[in-house]
Symmetry: none
Subunit: 175 residues, 4 copies
């Protein structure tokens, strides 16, 4: 490992291998710390937005926005998340799977509540829509990461976010 971030600032810190074991019991613990930080930020943001917004679109839109912001501010962290955690089954311990499932559950909950209040279609399982929504986000960011695609500016972030949301909510069919 060569890089890490401290809490508030985007500081690239390069540590020697051995030092990792001064701070973390082993590689898995280091991983868990990164993972926990990632999910922690994500979950607390989701909770905030759940209170702040009422519309499902706003809640999910905030999620997309969060990913875009993180990608811009801390590309390395998103990179680790996508390649090492999200896309690698090698590191997928049951412990980490829980985060994933919890994440899915939260989104499913948002969607299910949308279905209950009739702002989201009822003829498709909330779980299935969750897969579609998350898959859209994940593939988007995976591709960005794999291709080292740079996101420049608010305009592009907005275009990407609204593309995902538009298709997810309105569908690929033309109006």
């Amino acid at each position: 490992m060569t890089k890490s971030y401290n809490n508030n600032k985007l500081t690239v810190v390069s540590v020697e291998v051995g030092l990792v074991y001064h701070y973390f019991k082993n590689k898995a613990y280091l991983f868990d710390a990164i993972v926990a930080e990632w999910w922690g930020g994500l979950f607390s943001m989701m909770e905030e937005c759940d209170k702040k917004y009422t519309l499902v679109e706003d809640k999910l839109g905030a999620l997309v926005g969060y990913f875009l912001d993180q990608y811009e501010k801390r590309p390395d962290l998103v990179h680790v998340f996508i390649t090492e955690i999200s896309r690698s089954s090698a590191n997928l311990t049951p412990e980490r799977l829980k985060f994933f499932k919890s994440f899915m559950d939260r989104i499913e909950d948002i969607i299910a509540r949308g279905q209950a209040e009739n702002t989201v279609r009822n003829d498709v399982k909330a779980r299935y829509m969750t897969y579609i929504f998350l898959g859209a986000i994940e593939t988007f960011f995976s591709t960005l990461v794999l291709e080292n695609y740079p996101i420049k500016g608010k305009a592009q972030k907005h275009r990407i976010a609204s593309s995902i949301l538009t298709v997810f909510f309105n569908g690929a069919r033309p109006i």
Copy 2:
């Protein structure tokens, strides 16, 4: 040497490691063979469907159907594909990335042609819609694989397929 039976045929699934090197130069070549077989089947099926069907929905629907069929018939291959190839960056050589990109290109092409003939919305980049569609599929199957979720029967396959297609084409918003 261990053996296992898949649905219809006696298939040797596990061999002494050393034997791999009788058939493949190294682990990567073995991988490439599996990858190539997978993509080969996928690509030839896509070409067929491109001739067979005219509607974008039918073409993409066939794709979802293909994944579901493969998942039922050859769960191991799909498992390898999802966990080792699709979800693991460790094995993502530039060579293999090409397949992925080619896959995306083909889907983008289908969607772009749909846009040209006005059966797919024009206000979102074809590339972005590709991400969304593929992400939906991938997350779906990742989850199936990770949870060892069994697909039982035509009915369920149909339900899953139409869920994905419905949301992708009509959107999550109720009618």
Copy 3:
């Protein structure tokens, strides 16, 4: 292994790996067979020459000639001898070392008898002169083999043989 020679003719025979074990107990036995054939031919030729010639120069000259003939007629065998037997310590079993030492002993004997009859200088150990003579031959042929140097015709063979003999007997110093 891919090639082998039968007794009298230069016949390249290509056999499949497995078959070797039909004729030889194991790799070492195959090796020993090749080695024994080589040394057998060499030793019987030396015995003949010992009777045929009286001069040390003729005896050693015949030896050089034999190597040159073999190199021309059976380059592969000489190649195996040089690279696998003479130049490789990996295959040097005590058994094979015996042949080598016996070979040295025979040459030392020739030289020692030369010293006794005063046709070879007495102020250098016969053993040391043996090393020098054999080293000259071996390096010569090693180089030929390593560089895949082709020997064409009697003239060149004669030139090489007389070079070795001239320097060995008369020294590098000009007359």
Copy 4:
């Protein structure tokens, strides 16, 4: 990890295999390092002697002396050189062959200059005499190494050196 002491210094001779890969990319690189060290010492010594001495006999004599010194001081290195590098074709990469050829070229050069100034006989190709000289040395040391022959003291070193040089320069024929 085992340790051993050579004549004057504490030298770590045997390390855990894995550690090699901390210092060298792979086995071949380790080899190259040893080989390069050996040839480096040899070549720099030859250059020095080329300036220091004028007579061919002194230049070549210094070479023999160098081998004898190395054999006494660093028997392991000479052992590796003889058995793994000089006598083994398995490790003879084109890269390593270059060193060998360069070595031969340097000696050939010394001899050719001797011929030009008429201190070395002209009726034998310099290349051929190079083979003879090198073969003498190599076989000498191969035998020492293979038989684990101990060299004790200056006297014996001198005897060996002068034997090689005497025969090479004056020939095996008595005066």
